[in-house]
């Protein structure tokens, strides 16, 4: 137990549009059966990091519900455990989390009351598998003060919503730019960091005194030359879901056999809250092509190239193509849905027509549901 974990799960992002009206980005459903934060939590658990704080703020309701019991990720332990921290009025502060560094500052006692030498800080809105122990070993070997996990995106990828960085041949980070207008590099920060716990406490306390609140701007970029900050390249699959396009693409990635094999078949597993739903049911008239279907679904119509989340009902003669249907949606007969993300718990009347003509349409419909 060399490290404790912090998962930053407070964020909202206007780029994901209406989908965060009812949930935090980290609670976004992924790949039929999971939620975004499951990946970070499972990585922590599989890396034997037993004490983890989840810092939540924005629209934390459905995230808290998902985290109502820590047993699904094996955090129900006497040693360590899962600590979900929302902003609270205290003697020192009555503010919301004003940034990532401030969120940690307001929970400094979590760091101070631990004895593990290192802290792994990750964001909860990324889909990936990673053994944080390898990262720790790298960090120790490099005698780094801070190690930043980074990834090379393809040369034509749009990196303007990430932090980009440049490393020297020893992997020490020389340049770090947050959300550059014109990027000098296509190596981006994945929002995964390792720091020695005492040094983190020191830096966070300093930030607080100076009224600085952001981990990237006020620590990484500010201390870039004073501290030994190293980059650790991630080679495996990694995807951030904080825009509608990335969210859609990430889900669709799971239609590829190699991605399913990597996440679902290879060690270690990804864990999630168990919902106790019956098996998926296909009635006469169901036609499914190249799609993921989750438990509790009842399908009577046609589904092509889509990801259908749990407990969805698809009526007769429906045609669903290249779409994502989130949890517990009822789709009436003869409905056409194409290039859409249908918001969870929606009820779509029979004979509806939705087609994303330019890009992805987000469908939020809450009609009265007639029972079956």
């Amino acid at each position: 137990m060399r490290a404790i974990g912090i998962i930053l799960a407070g964020g909202n992002n206007h780029r994901i549009r209406q989908l965060t009206q009812k949930r935090a980005v980290c609670a976004m459903p992924i790949a039929g059966s999971y939620r975004s934060i499951d990946f970070a939590l499972s990585n922590m658990s599989n890396s034997h990091i037993n004490k983890v704080a989840v810092l939540t703020q924005y629209n934390a309701g459905s995230l808290n519900e998902h985290l109502s019991s820590s047993k699904w990720w094996d955090f129900g332990r006497k040693q360590g455990g899962l600590f979900v921290e929302t902003p609270a009025v205290t003697a020192e502060s009555n503010a919301w989390y004003r940034g990532t560094a401030d969120a940690i500052a307001q929970n400094l006692s979590f760091l101070k009351n631990s004895h593990e030498p290192y802290v792994v800080i990750v964001s909860g809105d990324c889909v990936y598998k990673m053994d944080y122990n390898k990262l720790l070993e790298y960090h120790i070997e490099k005698k780094a003060d801070i190690t930043v996990v980074c990834k090379d995106l393809s040369p034509n990828a749009n990196v303007e919503r990430y932090g980009t960085l440049k490393m020297n041949e020893d992997s020490r980070i020389e340049e770090f730019e947050e959300k550059p207008v014109v990027a000098k590099s296509n190596t981006i920060s994945c929002g995964i960091y390792v720091v020695r716990r005492r040094m983190l406490i020191e830096m966070i306390e300093k930030c607080r005194e100076e009224d600085r609140y952001d981990f990237v701007k006020d620590i990484l970029i500010r201390y870039k030359n004073q501290k030994r900050i190293f980059g650790y390249k991630l080679k495996d699959y990694w995807s951030n879901i904080a825009t509608v396009e990335d969210y859609f693409r990430t889900n669709m990635d799971f239609l590829k056999p190699e991605i399913r094999d990597y996440f679902f078949k290879q060690y270690p597993d990804v864990y999630s809250k168990v919902d106790d739903l019956p098996p998926a049911k296909y009635n006469v008239g169901a036609k499914i092509k190249n799609s993921l279907i989750s438990s509790g679904c009842i399908v009577n119509g046609t589904v092509e190239d889509s990801v259908i989340f749990k407990e969805t009902y698809i009526g007769s003669n429906c045609y669903i193509k290249n779409s994502i249907i989130l949890n517990d949606v009822y789709i009436g007969d003869n409905t056409h849905i194409e290039n859409c993300i249908v918001e969870s718990r929606g009820t779509i009347r029979a004979n509806s027509y939705h087609k994303g003509e330019e890009g992805i349409e987000i469908v939020v419909e809450h009609n009265d549901r007639y029972s079956l």
């Binding site: 059966s33 399913r260 168990v274 106790d276 098996p279 998926a280 049911k281 296909y282 092509k289 279907i293």
Partner: protein, 424 residues
Amino acid sequence: MVKKEMIAMLLAGGQGSRLGVLTSKVAKPAVSFGSKYRIIDFPLSNCINSGVDTVGVLTQYQPLRLNTHIGIGIPWDLDRNIGGVTVLPPYEKSANSEWYTGTANAIYQNIDYMETFNPDYVLILSGDHIYKMDYEVMLDFHKQNGAEVTIAVMPVPMEEAKRFGIMITDENRRITDFEEKPANPRSNLASMGIYIFNWKTLKEALLANSEQPGLDFGKHLIPYCHKKGAPLYAYEFNGYWKDVGTLHSFWEANMELIDIVPEFNLYEEYWKIYTKSEILPPQYLSADSVVEKSIIGEGCEICGQVYNSVIGCGVTVGAGTVIRDSIVMNQTQIGENCELYKAVVAENVEIQDNVKLGVGDPVPNETDPNIYDHELVTVGEKSVIPKGVSVGKNSVVFGVTTHDDYPDAYLPSGKTLIKAGDKS
């Protein structure tokens, strides 16, 4: 002080030999049912849904799968500070150690367990029926009638009554007499093997009959209570209840789940059936797949065609394979261009490419004609069926088989091919 109004004792030690090779390595309650469930999930879920949070599970025959499935009871919310689920295997005593020799004998050997909870009532269940039942309603009936023993019964067609234990009651549902598998039944109320006893009555009866060899509820304990004049009542249950004791009834009950609105509905929100879910990911259906009238569990990869079938979790079905009227249990791998017709394939089986199951004309099974019938092909767990072979109807394959076991690449109908485990 620890106090539970009613505790449940679940009899899960039986082999269920009429399920053939399906139970040669696992106890019947641990046999998988309805894609992702196991038979014991139904009584366990009924317990927690009825507010019974203390359940002793009596195990004896092949308990490994059952033990790992139950664990500390997390899936059923039976991990409790006080009570919860406890697995009760037979144990050695300073004198007269013995196996559980009968249903009531198993309960007798666990009097100490029951005593810990200081119960008013004890609910006796068996782990091999598929049903949803609110035991609290049955308890209310028990209390209202001032019964000492209440037996759950269900009306069956008169011509089938001779297969069951039959209760004869007066107009108030008080039991006046009973008959075990009568040739000429006087009533059609069949015992479901579900009893509520007043704890005092049960304890007294168990102690009084402790010397009886093979002490059984139906044969000894109920008649003893009746003879003593204790008020026995029959609680009539009219919902879905299925004894899946034979291979054919097991297959039939699975097939009933795929009806448009099945009589036994797993999709109701307010009486959930819980199970241990080991596999979480969604299922993938490829561009060439065809799936109709089927239920399919988590994590499957379906590239072939599936009609009228029940497929467990983590199953792969290769391209060009056609599965009809079959049951395929968890983690079984089926290759390409196979044909399965009325097959019951247990867990972790490997069926290689171009295998055909259920071909030819039916012939009665050579070793166990009463088990392997109704044209079903049964494949035991962890079996391997090599490339390109065909297997006839009413046949059974169990173990790692090779081409040498199939002369002319064909196992005719009615043949038994068992290479591992105990012959059933």
